[in-house]
Each structure stands twice: as C-alpha cells, then as structure tokens.
C-alpha cells in the first residue's frame, strides 16, 4: 500500500515536470477554441477541428511562426461546447482565463460565434473564425472578431446571377429560410438581390430551425409556379426538402440550397435524388489558388484527402485560412501582444491562401464571394463561374435522375 502511494506520488511529480518541461522547452503560441465535438453541430464542427490541426501541423513543420527572429510553435487547445452557445461562451472564457491561450479560433455556426465573439471582445483577445457568416456577428462594432466566410447576405447572389444568364430566364422565385441568425441573413440578402435583378419573389417564407415538414411550403411554391427555389437551412432540413419535393412531385428548374450539397451526408442520404441539386460555397475543390502554407489548392486537396479520407469543403478551407492569417499577422506584428496582433490581422492584405486571397472589410469579415455548385454524377462540381463543368439547367424531372 505504502509503495503504491509512493509510486503514485512520484508518478504525479514526474507528470508535472514532464508538462512544465514541454511548456518551457520551446516557445509556443496557444490557439484556443471551444467547438462542437458532440451534439447537433458536431458533424461540421469536426471539419474545423481537422482543418485547424492540419494547418497547425503544417506551420510547425515549416518551422513555426517567426516572431522577431525567435521561432514559436502553434499549440491547439480545444474544448467541446456540446453545440450549445452558452456552454461555448463559458468555455472561451475558461480558455482565456485558465488556459491562458494567446489567441482564439472560432467555433462552428453563427449562433455560437455571436456569444463567443462577445467574450473575445470583453477580454480584448482577437478571434479568427471560419464558421459564422451572419451579419449579426459583424454589425456590432466588435473589433476583435474576424471571419473567413463571406457575407451571408451574398450567398445566393451568384446563384441569382447564374439564373439571369439562362435562356429562357426564369421569372418566379421562391425563397425559404430557417429562422436562425445565419439563414435569416441569407434569406433577406437573397430577396434583396433577387428583386434588384428583376425577379419576382412569389414565395418568401421563414420556417423554424429544425423543422421536418415542408409539405405546406412546397405545395405553395408549386402552386405559385416558382421556377427556381432557394432554401437556406441545415443538412437535415435540406434532405427533407429534397425528399418531400420528390414526394409531392415538385421539380423546379433550379433547386438551390446553402448547407447540404457540399456535404457527404447529404449525397449519401439522398442517393441519386441528390443529382442536379444546386449549392453555394465560398470555395470548391475545383479552384486553384496559390497558398503560402500549402503550395496551391490542388496540392492541399490531395494531401488533405490522403490524411483524413474525405474531400475538404469550404468549411475546411475557411478553417485553414484562419490559421494562415494568424501566422502571417503574428510575423508582421513581430509581437504576441493581442492588440498589435488584432491590428495586424485587420491590415491583412491579399494574403495568398489555398482558400483564395484574404482581405478583411472594416467590420472584420472577409471580402469574398460565393460560387455555384451542382451535384453531377454524385460529385460536387463548380458550375458558375465556369470551371470546366457544364451546369445542367433546367434540372431534369425526378424520374430522369
């Protein structure tokens, strides 16, 4: 008994020493994030976790971050926020006060990013996030939040532009959106853009987040003769909407969704019914940008797929960009002072990343646009702006997919 106690005591001493040893052995910059490992947001949350890890490994392999001639390694500290905003905000506070992280990385989803960004501002620690695009994050005058997803209101702009180029040009459009922060921004933006481009918005409706029954909305859109239907929601809702459109035999010329088409779950769940569905994204694997961490988009896609066994999507790329911006900003600032880093991030100019060149607007959100995707033969392809894959428009009837 005595020996066991002695052993435990020694072991714990050793452990403490081991930890303090690694902590002091090299200079580290701690990046912290409270993100969803479990719960409803965990599927997409995982994409960010994978990306953050992948990019941080790459930075460290390259020798780390050079601060005034001294090399620092990035170290990630994660907590599971269980997909709950209040829990997430609490954990961000813990990251700052207990774990003493230097800088913050964002969680996933706009609803969770909002409270987190407020904590970041309270402690004046910069946060770069790739998981929230709602204008509600950026219109509060918060100087410490930076986002790598483009304005939610612009998500469907490219799709609408694509529609104006079709012959015959559709007239009637239905817009449906979930009532969470992000999708409300998408829906409102889409309506404004559609009207500006001369479309007739015949159905414009909000539904409660997590709704499973769209039969009423679909019946309405069908009845109003909407030629194109745009839905801003989440994976489950997107699957429901497609399934029920088929059940009710509603086949618009274009069915465009925000979240869904670029996710593997969506394609797996719907099988061949997923074909020809349109999507939007801030990034696609068909793009080619030179990056300073990874050579270019194609090299990144290959390396990433080899390591994780799935194709990266725009969430992944937005996460990579967050780390790239930190490395660049810290090196330019030549300091670890949060205030100086914040200013350096704001001054980021044309930074070359595999996600595309990064510049931020005054409110902290990236200057970017979205591309139109379409599922062709079970693969997500960029169809507008042209990338070598021809869009199939109008979408064929359900029986011919």
């Amino acid at each position: 008994m005595f020996y066991r106690k002695l052993f435990l005591m020694l072991a714990s001493f050793l452990l403490v020493f081991a930890f303090s040893f690694t902590a002091y052995a090299e200079n580290v910059i701690k990046l912290g994030s409270a993100i969803s490992f479990t719960g409803a947001k965990s599927r997409t949350g995982k994409l960010y976790v994978d990306s953050y890890k992948f990019a941080v490994n790459k930075v460290n392999e390259m020798g780390g971050v050079n601060v005034n001639g001294k090399n620092y390694k990035f170290e990630l500290v994660f907590y599971d926020d269980k997909s709950e905003p209040t829990e997430s905000a609490r954990l961000v506070e813990k990251l700052i006060t207990v774990d003493k992280v230097d800088f913050l990385l964002g969680p996933y989803s706009s609803g969770i990013t909002i409270p987190n960004s407020i904590v970041a501002r309270r402690y004046r620690i910069p946060m770069i996030e790739g998981g929230g695009a709602s204008s509600k994050i950026f219109d509060k005058g918060n100087k410490y939040i930076f986002g790598t997803l483009p304005r939610a209101g612009d998500y469907f702009r490219s799709t609408l532009e694509f529609l104006t180029k079709q012959n015959p040009t559709p007239k009637k459009i239905a817009i449906l959106y979930a009532d969470d922060k992000f999708d409300v921004s998408v829906g409102e933006g889409a309506k404004a853009a559609a009207e500006e481009m001369g479309f007739d918005v015949v159905v414009y409706e909000k539904y409660s987040e997590g709704a499973s029954d769209f039969t009423s909305a679909i019946t309405k859109a069908k009845d109003a003769g909407a030629e194109a239907t745009l839905v801003a929601g989440h994976t489950e809702e997107a699957i429901n909407f497609v399934q029920q459109s088929k059940e009710l035999d509603y086949s618009p010329n274009l069915l465009g969704l925000t979240v869904g088409p670029s996710e593997a779950d969506f394609r797996k769940a719907l099988g061949k019914d997923a074909n020809y569905i349109y999507g939007v994204a801030s990034w696609s694997t068909e793009m080619n940008f030179e990056g300073y961490l990874f050579e270019d988009t194609q090299t990144f896609v290959k390396k990433f797929t080899d390591k994780f066994g799935y194709d990266p999507d725009y969430h992944n790329a937005a996460g990579i960009a967050a780390i790239a911006v930190y490395k660049d900003a810290i090196e330019r600032a030549g300091s670890l002072d949060p205030q100086k880093i914040r200013d350096a991030i704001a001054e980021t100019s044309g930074l070359k990343t595999i996600y595309g060149p990064v510049d931020f607007m005054d409110n902290g959100q990236i200057i970017g646009s979205s591309v139109v995707l379409q599922i062709l033969d079970g693969k997500v392809r960029q169809v507008y702006p042209a990338s070598g894959y021809d869009a199939v428009y109008p979408m064929p009837e359900w029986d011919n997919r």
Binding site: K220, E236, E247, G271
Partner: protein, 285 residues
Amino acid sequence: MLTQILINGILKGGLYALMAMGMSLIWGVMNIINIAHGSFIMLGAYTTYWFFTLYGMDPFVSVLLSMALIFFLGFFIQKYIINFVIGASLFITLLLAFGIEILINNLALLFWTADVRSVQVTYGGANIEILGAVIPTVRLFAFLLAIAVSVILFIIMNKTWLGRAIRSTAQDLEAARLNGVNVGKIYSITFGIGTAVAAAAGTLWAVIFPISPTMGGHLTLKSFVVTIIGGLGTMMGPLVGGLSLGIVESLGTNWFGSTFENLISFTILVLVLIFKPNGILGKKE
C-alpha cells in the same frame, strides 16, 4: 390546393397519432410522463435503418422486429429502473425519464455519431395523383400502418385479459391487486408496449424523414401536445389529437407561414387546456 394541404395534414396526423399512442398509454396507466419517449422513437428509427442498411430488410417488414426489440428494452427499463420509483411523486419519475433520455441520446451519439442518415427505399419518392392532388406513397403506407397499429392496440386493450388487466390497474390499483393482477409485471408490459409503439412510429419516421440521434426531443414535445389534445385514458384520444393537430398545422402553416408551426401547435394546446381541460375525448374526472 386546399385538397392538397388537407391531404398533407391528414397523412402527417396519422404519424403524429402513432407517435403519441405510446406516450398516452404509459401516461394513462402509470401516470409517468415519459420524457424519453422521443428517444425510443429514435431507437426505432435506427433499428429500422440498420436492418435496412445491413440486411436490406424493407422497413415495413422489419418494423415487427424493431417493435419486438424495443418492447424488451422498454420492459426491462421499467422492470429494473422505473418500477423502483413508481410510487414516488410525478416529479421523480419525470426526472428519471429525463435521465434515461440523456443516456440514450448520448449513447446513440457515441455509437452512431451525429451523422444524418436516411432510409432510401426504392418507392421513396413515388406518388399517386388523384384529382390534381399528389399523395406520396410512403406517407400513405405510413398512415395505413398507423391506423393498423391503433386498431390492434385497441383490440388488445379491450378484448384480451392483458388489456383488461392494464385498464384495471390504471383505474384502481388496489382493486387490481386484490383480483390477482401482478401490478409490477403489468407496468413493465405496459411500458414495453408503449415503447414498442414508439418504435413503430420511429420506423415510419425513418422512411419519411432523415434521422439523427438528436431527433427525439422535438418528437417528445409533439407527442406530448397530441396526447393532451386528444385526452388521456382512451385509445382513440391520440388518433383524434394527432389528426386534428396534423390538419390544423398544415392549414396554419399555409396561411401564416412555416415559421409558426410550433406557435400553432401550442396555441391549440392552450385552447384545448382552457376549453376542454381533459382533451377532446377526455373523460370528466
């Protein structure tokens, strides 16, 4: 268009009815508000998914297996867990059911991850067109199955010894005991039947909607509303409650917009509680 909206509502209502049936039974007999009800629906949906994905079994066949499996799960949960606190206040059983819900959901998240899955039957998107209205085939099947299960349950409750034992236990515990009813066992069987019916609802849910481990909470709420609207203590209650809710929701979301679906459900709930506190079919106490 109105016919279409009504058809949508009736078909949805059938599913609501089946969902609520198990909850209503357990509540009526044991006075337990089974917060974990939605989790059992989720388990039913997942067993269906696995039977379909691993063995290629048609959901309308495997529904019997799912029901049997979940019956035993429910039976043992009641026998070894809930029966110990059955005499305690409503609050204790509520808390316990809440715990069971958290446990089941998190185990499901652990083993099956949060991935959204769906059962892709070949007749998935098929539909029949009658007088300009489209009737989705799977929903029609689901509706018919819901009716069938209700009828079977009705027969069991009214024509068999077991049913009479369950009803007598619900009416007068002491008298049932005096007449040789093993109350503990009846409770376990009732809970088992309740969860088995929930599993059947889960099967239908999986055929119509995508499923995920966290789908249950929302369904518990819907079942709760349907149970209250229909009224406790009668087998027809959930059917009436489900159909009314389905139709009103369909009409309501059509007139006022989809975002008000929950507002509509709960407004009906409040109205029923004010004007018919025991539900549409509920008996006076």
